[in-house]
Symmetry: D3
Subunit: 158 residues, 6 copies
């Protein structure tokens, strides 16, 4: 059984993330979604809230399990016995950041490899940061996140 | 009469921005300059000060009007009855950010389109952030901003 | 009346080109479509055939006129009394080529400026070369070009 | 059993290609290596010679099978019952070409997805074209291709 | 005697920086290493600590001298009588930032020129920020920084 | 005495190349200009004609010597006892090609290093190919090449 890990801060999960998870499910037998702290940015949702928003979509999916991530991703992978990391690529991705992350992980754990999947081009400009910025500006974010995430964002902003 | 909106944080306006406004005036009949809050960065000048610095150049120009921007740019455009947004492209622009912004605006308001103009190559490396960094380092910024902006920067730093 | 020129080799016109022409019509009062020789590549259709394929879409459009282009684009623009050139940008465009072309034209004719429009993201990967390659490989190109262009490609390949 | 296809012109196979095939073997249960014609470039080796050079490495590997590719890659994939395409990414890859190819394949066959693997950074600059250019210039290509490929290149050049 | 300046925030010095300094020593007769404040990021080590970590490697090297940098780099260069600035390029560098910096320096001091050296590809993903992030996550950073820098990082984190 | 080699096809030399040679003269004690065959493109001028056009500028310059280049650049460098290669970077350069070339040369001859110099931004879009294309289209190329090169291009086209 080939398992893979899709890690990120998911603050919050967007339709682009959902698209990648669904593609990953078509390729691998099991997908761990690992929710990490984001050292550089102030969090909007707590790790637990983010996991809960992801579970709102995949809780009953036998091929997906969502957990919080503490420490190094490659350590988490080794603990879970997983050797494949998934990253989503968007046409407007920051490749440099992606390459840095992957080459670093490869240096830290040579047996763990990263595979890149490409999001649907309709999500090519979508990111959690964009969604948060749009919510602040009172934009309609219906096309960008699942509806329970939209509700949680509005609730949080009150 | 074809009107267009050139939005940005203009904190402060640089010679590169002035160049884009002048090019826009050659293409469109009227140009709204919309000064937005910048969610990610600490402002140096207030919105009112920034408008005042822009008006120091274009106040008597019948083809240019400068206002503050609250809320979504596409909402502002719709209120003004304008369907064209202007963005300046520099050889060293961050295209990803430009594309994300334009595709998001197109998703939010499909009838509003973005046109990109290219700055003079002598301004290809110029940005408001650079100007502020140089002022902090006591560099001569004469070639980068209009002289009244230079004075305002020095006054502010005292 | 603001006129603009959209030049290219259009060998053949794709849905991406059609999208740009339609966007240009929403911004400018009149659009010249100028079909140029392509010095670097072997032509598939003659200039006359390419004009004819474009006219198959825009012949009765009072805002569009299609011509062949001999010599320099900026000379053609000056002869037509047009000071705006249009270029389509795709998320996967070759920006370097675009910048080189625009800066060269600006050097040759400083009063003529280039505006960039962004194609619909569903055409972000589409090009005439791709279409020709797919036709060679017997792929279905229905989503990529207007149907009379598809027929012309098949006819040509016989 | 998860199968994947790694297609390319492999004219000739380099150590970078070998690295990607080995990584793919660690992720998937079976890898088809599909050798395609290259429409844009003059071939150095025939398809049969290229298959033979690949078989020189993977002939006895139960997880790898090498074939020639005629027609569309997605048709080949469907015939083989494979829904995963592999592409190698190098830090200095031409992402635009990669995205164009993947988005086109996704348009032609939505159920077939592309995964990108990253080559070892020591091969980040390596390509078949480079190898051929170096051979022409009498450079030592020992670090770039398997030794039997090196011999075949020298033989061919005589 | 040709002297050059390699400026940066070096917070802390990494093996990639050491590689660039060693390459610079092979090209120029003398290399000033100038440690600057970083306006945008919170410092981890003080300027004095960073100089001390650099001196831990190059203190006895007659071709290298390390100093703190206050004010503009081009002013420092002129004071030292140096007309060459060195920048390290990584395959995954942010070229835009590099170009902006170099063109700005050229505007401020036309007689001072920037030369770019390329790091060893094994350091292509390495940066001070990455090192600090990894230390926070308790990763082994042995391959990324000299051992006395590793010790200082651990000491600092206590 | 620090010597460096600036190699290229120079078909023909442009003002951008001249700018790089002049910058290199400010940094190094002696500059070899090496004129190479271009495997991928049809030559416009012969190697001898190109050397002659370069000598038309630098013949009497004691710091510059121009020669034809046969075989590998790193072999030429070793024969001349030179360990520094110069490349010109333009804001719109193809970095991938530059990196590939430099990393390959470093692999072939680890003791030879490449330094990148940045052209004046007014030449950022200039290349020999552009010049040849413009000459074909009867454009005025006065700002792009020295006048004796312009004459030679016109003579050649007759």
């Amino acid at each position: 059984m080939t398992k893979a890990i899709y890690a990120g801060s998911f603050d919050p999960i967007t339709n682009g993330h959902v698209d990648i998870i669904n593609r990953a499910k078509g390729i691998f037998d099991f997908v761990y979604v690992a929710v990490s702290h984001n050292l550089n940015k102030t969090a909007f949702f707590t790790i637990d809230e983010r996991i809960s928003l992801i579970n709102g979509i995949f809780k009953d999916d036998p091929k997906v399990e969502c957990n919080g991530l503490e420490g190094l991703l490659v350590d988490y992978a080794q603990k879970k016995g997983v050797s494949i990391l998934i990253r989503g690529l968007r046409a407007v991705s920051d490749f440099d950041v992606e390459f840095q992350m992957s080459l670093t992980n490869r240096e830290l754990a040579p047996k763990i490899d990263t595979v890149f999947l490409m999001t649907d081009s309709k999500y090519s400009y979508l990111s959690s940061s964009l969604v948060k910025e749009l919510v602040h500006l009172k934009a309609d974010i219906e096309d960008f996140v699942p509806s329970h995430v939209k509700d949680a964002l509005k609730e949080k902003l009150k």
